[in-house]
């Protein structure tokens, strides 16, 4: 898999993952309630939004400063304009380190570039060490959620996988034993690997420090035990200063889990210095690949995302579909925006913008107040311009011309009222109380799943004219 779009979306509910998704969403809801009790949520959101807006508004300057600081403390910085360049530079570093096996922490950016496949093509095995990612990798699947990559899987499926790998069976209810197996299996890898690859949550321009959050400890191991640490980040992850980074670390934890801090946050400033026995080599890969192009557009604030996953948990569509049916690396509301946004003038991913009822739950949940609903509408408009849907455009064109004149509007109301006279009503199998199981174009999609309410014989405007005059 390479590229942000893997296949066209399959916009249907996925009953197989529903129970897991509901449980995950319920857990997140409880976390949200806790977060609101712990801090003044709206004030914290405003501050988080301001920090991200400052960073993206000043992106070139802050990325330059970040690069300078990282180099000053002995790190290497590689700018990658495209995913292919990012993959190439990472592959080169691994090859130069003589690594045939590398350990990897969870990084959506490396999913986006398809780093795993690129390394495999160079005969370098990248072992995913986040538990959910490890499971998904072993099953040959894609992760389905930004934070919880295995949310679509049951304990039974995981137990079955580990049973195959270990050569003995596991009780799906003995979660501790399942985790212990993963811990043991991965411990060997951490100790053997020459290179550890991680993502970056926030990069502090002021000091050149990379902040990486996690729950399991695998990121610490990836960035501690091997002698080379490669950190891959989208350029938008930069923040100006320590204060901003501290606030956002708290925010991502509150928004994702309702906790004031992540289980673990690593602050990495260059390769190991002053007696630190960590990696002697640090490489920071800065990926652009469509990000800079969003600056100055209506979609710029999509770059503010801190990858907390809240919008996925809040979304009523994601709740039914699950991540895989999006067919893209980034799923949920943020995925539906940034995938076509980053693709730019290409048409890839534009169908993702349809996967929303525009309910606004994502906007409400977002810790940095990204107006995802407005951005989805903007993306739909851009898609129509680029790739017109003739029939739909004709319908809306006719509709807007008729309905921008009272005469046209009333004529269409009268026509539908007359047209839905006795003959039509019989053809549509209408019930006396005005409901029918079938509807004509362009409303046929409705009656695939629902009965349709028929237009009233006497609309309100006619009743008003008859009873009140004028």
């Amino acid at each position: 898999m390479s590229g942000r779009v893997i296949e066209p979306p399959d916009p249907r509910p996925d009953p197989a993952v529903r129970a897991n998704l509901h449980r995950a969403a319920a857990s997140w809801e409880a976390g949200r309630a806790r977060a609101h009790e712990l801090v003044d949520w709206e004030t914290w959101r405003d501050r988080a939004q301001a920090i991200r807006a400052d960073a993206v508004a000043n992106l070139p300057e802050l990325v330059d400063r970040l690069e300078q600081r990282v180099i000053e403390v002995g790190g290497h910085v590689h700018r990658a304009a495209t995913a292919a360049q990012a993959n190439a530079v990472v592959t080169e570093i691994c090859a130069a380190a003589g690594a045939s096996m590398v350990v990897k922490g969870k990084s959506m950016t490396t999913e986006e570039t398809g780093l795993g496949e690129a390394l495999a093509a160079a005969e370098i095995t990248a072992i995913e060490t986040d538990l959910g990612e490890y499971v998904v990798q072993q099953l040959g699947q894609r992760p389905s959620h930004i934070l919880a990559p295995a949310v679509h899987l049951s304990a039974a499926q995981i137990a079955e996988l580990f049973g195959r790998l270990a050569g003995h069976s596991f009780d799906p209810d003995d979660t501790r034993a399942l985790v212990a197996y993963a811990r043991g299996a991965l411990r060997e890898r951490f100790l053997e690997a020459q290179v550890g690859i991680t993502g970056v949550n926030f990069a502090v321009a002021e000091s050149g420090t990379l902040a990486i959050v996690e729950s399991e400890g695998n990121v610490r191991l990836c960035s501690s035990l091997p002698r080379v640490h490669i950190a891959v980040m989208g350029i938008e992850k930069v923040v100006r200063d320590w204060a901003g980074a501290a606030h956002l670390v708290g925010m991502v934890s509150l928004a994702a889990h309702g906790k004031p801090a992540p289980a673990s946050t690593s602050f990495v400033t260059g390769p190991a210095r002053g007696g630190d026995d960590g990696p002697g080599e640090l490489h920071l890969v800065l990926l652009d690949d469509g990000r800079s192009a969003l600056r100055g557009t209506e979609l710029e604030s999509a770059l503010h995302c801190i990858r907390c996953g809240a919008c996925l948990y809040a979304c009523p569509v994601y709740r039914q579909m699950g991540g895989h049916r999006y067919g893209s690396v980034y799923t949920g509301p943020i995925g539906a925006v940034i995938t076509p946004a980053l693709e730019g003038s290409g048409a890839e991913g534009s169908k993702l913008a349809e996967l929303s009822s525009l309910c606004g739950a994502c906007v409400e949940a977002c810790p940095v107040k990204i107006p995802l609903d407005d951005q989805l509408v903007a993306l739909r408009a851009a898609a129509r311009e680029r790739d017109p849907r003739r029939a739909e455009a004709a319908v809306f064109g006719a509709w807007s011309r008729l309905w921008s004149r009272p005469g046209g509007y009333r004529a269409s109301a009268a026509t539908s009222g007359r047209a839905l006279g006795p003959l039509w009503r019989r053809a549509l199998r209408a019930e006396p109380h005005g409901w029918a199981p079938r509807a004509p174009f362009p409303f046929a999609g409705w009656t695939a799943e629902r009965d349709v309410r028929l237009p009233a014989a006497r609309p309100f405007h006619r009743r008003w004219r008859e009873r009140r005059g004028g």
Binding site: P11, P316, M321, A361, E392, F396, P406, A448
Partner: protein, 247 residues
């Protein structure tokens, strides 16, 4: 006080009795109701589907009609009010004069329940459940009223004063019902699944009826309930607040 009724196209064409009850209710509460007869639609379907030019054509007419009136503009429908207040400034961002008018008109708009509670100052206005007494009702907050306008609790407050029924709490009541305008036509399987979750959680809570302020949600939920043969009834808020209301 004189109010301008923005009846909305869905109410006008599909639920005219909701329009009638709205007028009767406002008049009972002491308002003089005018109906600018040239009104058509707010333009939301075109805007949401990515046809801003078409939306502007219809929205421009809306602005022209209501800019020629005075006083509060009230609609029994949060989503259309949200369109006018929130989206018109974006639609007309490049048209200085229309933008000015859009803002001026937008400031005068109110969703009905919010108008009754905040502007007229009534926490309850009586009413009666239009069915067997002792009914259990579940309130469904339309998304644009709940999140866009921040007025989701106004209908709930008014429902508490209605005789013959009790409000019941429903799990995940804030979830979208899956109407979403053109979403319901384009992604029918997802739309229906979302309706099912809403209907099933109302049934689990023991509700006899679902009440909302959005006839889009109502016709979607009732349409699905009928297709599934569920006995659940579906009502607009004014069906309970002014059950015998007529012009």
């Amino acid at each position: 006080m004189r109010v301008q009724l923005f009846v909305t196209c869905l109410v006008d064409l599909l639920y005219p009795e909701v329009g009638e009850r709205t007028v009767a209710l406002l008049e009972r509460l002491g308002c003089e109701v005018s109906f600018p007869a040239a009104q058509t639609c707010c333009g939301q379907p075109a805007a949401n589907s990515g046809y801003p030019d078409d939306a502007r054509r219809v929205a421009g007419h809306f602005i022209d009609v209501f800019a020629a009136t005075e006083g509060p503009i009230v609609a029994p429908f949060g989503s259309c009010i949200h369109m006018v207040r929130h989206h018109y400034p974006r639609l007309f961002a490049d048209d200085h004069e229309r933008l000015r008018l859009a803002r001026a008109v937008g400031e005068r708009t109110h969703e009905l329940a919010g108008f009754i509670v905040s502007e007229l100052g009534h926490d309850e206005v009586g009413g009666r459940y239009p069915g067997p007494a002792g009914a259990t009702i579940a309130y469904h907050a339309e998304c644009h009223l709940l999140r866009g306008l921040g007025g989701g609790e106004h209908p709930q407050r008014l429902l508490a004063g209605v005789a013959g029924c009790e409000l019941v709490e429903v799990e995940r009541a804030e979830l979208c019902c899956g109407f979403g305008g053109t979403f319901s036509l384009k992604l029918p399987a997802l739309s229906a699944a979302m309706a099912d979750e809403k209907l099933d959680s109302a049934l689990r809570a023991g509700a006899d009826a679902i009440v909302s302020t959005d006839v889009g949600c109502l016709m979607h939920l009732e349409g699905r309930a009928r297709r599934r043969g569920l006995g659940l009834r579906v009502h607009h808020l004014v069906d309970l607040l002014e059950p015998s209301g007529a012009l």
